[in-house]
Amino acid sequence: MTTARALAPPPPLAGRLLDAQLHLLDRQVMDNDGVPVTTVDDLELSGPALDVELAPGTPAPVLTALLTGPVLGTRIFGGRPPSSRLVRIPWEDVAEVGVVLKLGVGGGNLDATWVERWIRDKIIARIPGGRHDPR
């Protein structure tokens, strides 16, 4: 039986304490205009890899990005896609965490909205009336 080692103390930060599972995962993400972007399907953390011994003084993992897209499948059924396959919303873009997550940027340039933009440009905008405002 190994003796338990004390974890390195968490870095001192100002702000709220959030539970990733409760407050971040499966939450709706809206851009700064209030247009829905996606739901948070998974989270990307920096820091030490799995199965690697932690050296004393290793900094704690830091949340680097919200993940969306096909990663939902691996979250539910298991496995991990390669890093290059992940569709990220960088954590720096998140402006507010409440019932929904609000971004500080517009959705137009995000990787996460690529499919929406493609469908819009190639399919919907080509059907007559696609850009018509219903109000």
């Binding site: 920096s46 890899a49 799995l50 199965d51 890093s83």
Partner: protein, 161 residues
């Protein structure tokens, strides 16, 4: 540069699933038993019931049409649907493979009655469709009521079986 080094070590095996043979076998057996349960007698009586319903629908539609309460479109649609139902019942009897001589007799009898019903229904539908050499509506109604009588006789005989 990769943010994290690649994972090392053997991939874990997929969890083994218990063979579902018994469940599939039981379900298949149940379905086989239940479907095999419908013998010749019950197929014929179901066909008789469905055909009685179809003929009654046709008679009701014709009488409403004569009373001026239905449009031609609605009457012809109702008759087409009834004809389709007759055809389905007839096919179910046709598909039977009777085992005994008695069963073969009843299948033949049922088929002849159902054919008569289909002929009556076609007459009625042609009467409604109109046209030059179409039969009259009263002809259609007459044939349908005769078909209904023969069906109820067949049904009574089967009920007595």
């Amino acid at each position: 540069m990769l943010r994290r080094p690649a994972l090392t070590g053997p991939a874990t095996d997929l969890p083994r699933r218990k063979p579902h043979r018994w469940g599939v076998l039981a379900a298949g057996l149940a379905l086989a038993v239940l479907s095999g349960c419908s013998g010749t007698g019950s197929t014929i009586s179901t066909a008789v019931e469905d055909s009685t319903s179809a003929i009654a629908t046709a008679r009701l539609a014709l009488s409403l049409d004569s009373a001026g309460k239905l449009t031609r479109a609605a009457t012809s649609t109702a008759l087409d649907d009834a004809l389709k139902e007759l055809a389905t019942s007839r096919n179910s009897v046709l598909k039977l493979s009777p085992a005994s001589e008695g069963d073969r007799q009843s299948v033949q009898e049922a088929l002849s009655v159902l054919d008569g019903c289909a002929a009556a229904m076609t007459t009625a539908r042609d009467a409604v469709a109109g046209g030059e050499r179409a039969p009259s509506l009263s002809d259609g109604g007459q044939q349908l009521s005769e078909a209904a009588d023969r069906l109820s006789q067949l049904g009574a005989k089967d009920g007595g079986k």
